[in-house]
C-alpha cells in the first residue's frame, strides 16, 4: 500500500514526548497530523500562520509542531512560540533549507534574488535567543509535507546509511545524485541534500535563557 503525503506527515508526532491530556499548538499541519495527534488523546490548538500565535495565551501549550516553514523565517515568531510553550515543553519546527543544493542552484546559477527559507545556523541562533535548546535536527525527504524519510543529521552515520542503502534512485539523474550525496556526506555536508529540515528543541526555563 502506498503512503500518501498526509499519512507520512502524521509520523512527525513520534519524535516528540507527547502524552495524553497535553496541549499542542499546531501551525500549518496537514489534517492527518492533526487527526493523529488528537487520536493520541491530546488537545490541539490549530492555527495556519504566525500572526495567530499572538492570540495564544502565554505558557499555555505543552508542545508545538510548526509545519508551515514560512513561520520560522521570522525572528518574532520564535519568541512568540517561546512565549506560548511552557518551560520543558518541546517544539518541532520545520524550516525550508536555504543551504540545500536546490536553493544554492537557484541563487547562484539561476540568479534568483529572493532566497526562500532560512539557514540551519540562523534557525539555531533564533532558537537559542528565544529560549530553546536544540536537541536534534533532521532532514525531511522528500519535504516537510511528505516526510517519508526523517533522517537525523547531527551524526554522519545515519545520513551515510540513508544515501548508501535506503535512498531509491528512481531516475538516472537520481543515480548520480546518490553518488554525489555520498561524497558530500563524507565531508559532513549531508544537510545540503534535504530541502526541508526539522528541528527539535526544548523550551528552557526563563531563568536559563541568555
Amino acid at each position: 500500500m502506498n503512503v500518501t503525503r498526509a499519512e507520512a506527515q502524521a509520523d512527525i508526532r513520534f519524535y516528540l514526548p507527547l502524552r495524553k491530556g497535553q496541549r499542542v499548538l499546531m501551525v500549518g499541519a496537514e489534517p492527518s497530523l492533526v487527526e493523529a495527534v488528537k487520536h493520541e488523546g491530546l488537545e490541539i490548538i490549530e492555527i495556519a500562520g504566525s500572526t495567530q500565535i499572538f492570540d495564544v495565551e502565554a505558557a499555555s501549550m505543552d508542545h508545538a509542531i510548526v509545519v508551515n516553514t514560512s513561520v520560522c523565517m521570522e525572528n518574532k515568531s520564535w519568541s512568540e512560540l517561546a512565549r506560548v510553550i511552557r518551560s520543558g515543553g518541546y517544539i518541532f519546527a520545520g524550516i525550508h533549507n536555504a543551504e540545500s543544493f536546490q536553493s544554492l542552484i537557484g541563487r547562484f546559477l539561476l540568479r534568483q534574488r529572493k532566497v526562500r527559507g532560512t539557514t540551519l545556523r540562523q534557525a539555531c541562533k533564533n532558537l537559542r535567543s528565544s529560549g530553546f535548546e536544540l536537541e536534534n535536527f533532521y532532514g525531511l525527504r522528500s519535504d516537510i509535507r511528505e516526510p517519508a524519510y526523517i533522517v537525523p543529521l547531527q551524526d554522519v552515520g545515519p545520513s551515510r546509511y540513508f544515501f548508501e542503502n535506503i535512498f531509491a534512485p528512481y531516475s538516472l539523474s537520481a543515480v548520480w545524485m546518490r553518488r554525489v550525496a555520498l561524497g558530500a556526506v563524507a565531508m559532513g555536508l549531508q544537510k545540503m541534500f534535504f530541502n526541508d529540515l526539522g528541528l527539535i528543541a526544548r523550551r528552557l526555563a526563563s531563568s536559563h535563557v541568555a
Binding site: 499519512e7 502524521a10 513520534f14 524519510y149 526523517i150 552515520g157 546518490r178
Partner: protein
C-alpha cells in the same frame, strides 16, 4: 512516543538486546523509513547508537489493534523461522514485542545493507554475471527455506483448480490459451504438492545480498504451510520489475514483464533457469510445470483468494494486465515449453 520508548533500550530491554549480542550506545539516532499505508499505519524506525554507521535495531511501531495482530504474527514468524539452523543470521532476530501506552512495538535486530531492488534501481548488479550470482543466491536460500519447513502434501486437482480460478476472477482469457492450460493441468491431475513455509512478500526490496548469500527481511506475510510456488513466482516477476534497465533506459513494468517472460534473451533465459531449478528441488516437480503454476499464480494475484491473505499482493489490476498479456502472447505446450 519515541523519546519515552528509547530509554528502554538502555534500561528494561537491555538484557534482551545483550542476549541478541546487540550493543548500542546513547544518545540514539532515529531514522524513520517509510512504513505501510493506512490510517493506523505501522511505522518503521532504524535506531543508531551514538557515532554508529550501521543501525543496531529496527523498531516497528503501530497504534492500532489490527496492526498489532500483524506485528504479533511477524514476531511469532521470526521466532519460528529463526529457529531453523540454516536461517541463523540470514534474517532479523526478534528481540521482543512490547506494549507502550496504547501502542505496540516490535523490536528486532537490523539486517543492514542495500536491498536488491535498491541495487537494481541504482544500476548496480545489472550485469549478466551479477544477475546470475544474485539469482543463484536467491535460489539456494529459497530451496533451503522450503526444504527446512516442508510439511504434508496436498493433491493438485488439475483442471478443476484452473477452472475454479478462472471463474473466481471472471477472467476472459483467449480460448486457445485456456485450452492449452487445461490440457497441461489434466496431465498433472492428482499430483501431490508438498506444502512449505511462505515468506509472503518475497520481492527484491526485502532481499539484501551480501557476500554471495542473501538475507531476507519483513516477515509480516509469513505462513508456516502454503503453496511452494508463491514465493518463487512472486520473486521472479518482481525481480523482472526491479530489473528495469535496458542500457540506460528505464522500462515500464509491462515492458519489463514482456522482456522477462515473453521474449527470448539472456535475461529471460537465466530467469527461466532460476525458476526451473527451484521447482526441481520440490519433490515430484518437473520444469515442464513452470508455466502452468506461473499462470495460476498470476490468477491468484489478480483475484486474491484466502491463501493470499497477508501477502503484499499489490494492485490486482496490474496483475490482471500481466495475466492477459501473458495469455495473449504465450503458447503453452504439454512438454512444458512456452513460446
Amino acid at each position: 512516543m519515541l523519546p519515552d520508548i528509547l530509554p528502554k533500550l538502555s534500561g528494561e530491554w537491555k538484557d534482551m538486546l545483550q542476549a541478541a549480542d546487540i550493543q548500542i550506545a546513547e544518545p540514539f539516532n532515529i531514522l524513520k523509513i517509510a512504513g505501510a499505508g493506512g490510517a493506523h499505519r505501522k511505522v518503521n524506525f532504524l535506531i543508531f547508537g551514538h557515532g554508529a554507521t550501521l543501525p543496531a535495531v529496527l523498531l516497528k511501531q503501530t497504534r492500532s489493534r489490527m496492526n498489532y495482530e500483524r506485528l504479533t504474527m511477524e514476531y511469532e514468524s521470526l521466532m519460528t523461522v529463526s529457529s531453523i539452523p540454516f536461517m541463523n543470521g540470514k534474517m532479523p532476530y526478534p528481540i521482543g514485542l512490547f506494549q507502550h501506552d496504547e501502542g505496540y512495538i516490535l523490536v528486532e535486530s537490523c539486517i543492514p545493507g542495500r536491498s536488491l531492488d535498491n541495487l537494481l534501481l541504482g544500476h548496480s548488479h545489472v550485469k549478466h554475471s551479477q544477475v546470475i550470482q544474485d539469482l543463484n543466491a536467491t535460489r539456494d536460500w529459497l530451496v533451503e527455506f522450503q526444504r527446512g519447513t516442508r510439511g504434508d502434501p496436498i493433491r493438485f486437482e488439475g483442471q478443476v483448480e484452473v477452472q475454479r480460478r478462472i471463474e473466481r476472477g471472471a477472467f476472459h482469457l483467449p480460448d486457445i490459451f485456456v485450452n492449452q492450460l487445461l490440457a497441461l493441468a489434466k496431465s498433472v491431475n492428482g499430483m501431490l504438492i508438498p506444502l512449505s513455509a511462505r515468506h509472503g512478500d518475497f520481492w527484491p526490496g526485502n532481499i539484501i545480498p551480501a557476500h554471495g548469500e542473501i538475507h531476507v527481511i519483513d516477515w509480516e506475510g509469513f505462513l508456516p504451510y502454503a503453496s511452494p510456488f508463491k514465493d518463487l513466482f512472486m520473486f521472479a516477476i518482481t525481480y523482472a520489475w526491479s530489473y528495469r534497465w535496458k542500457g540506460f533506459t528505464r522500462l515500464t513494468r509491462k515492458e519489463a514483464f514482456s522482456r522477462a517472460f515473453l521474449e527470448a534473451n539472456w535475461f529471460s533465459a537465466v530467469l527461466q533457469s532460476f525458476m526451473g531449478e527451484v521447482l526441481l528441488a520440490i519433490p515430484g516437480m518437473d520444469r515442464k510445470y513452470i508455466w502452468l503454476f506461473f499462470t495460476l499464480f498470476m490468477m491468484d494475484m489478480a483475484c486474491p483468494g484466502p491463501e493470499e491473505d497477508g501477502m503484499q499482493v499489490g494492485d490486482s489490476e496490474n496483475w490482471k494486465e500481466h495475466l492477459f498479456l501473458f495469455a495473449s502472447h504465450a503458447t503453452l505446450s504439454l512438454d512444458g515449453s512456452c513460446i
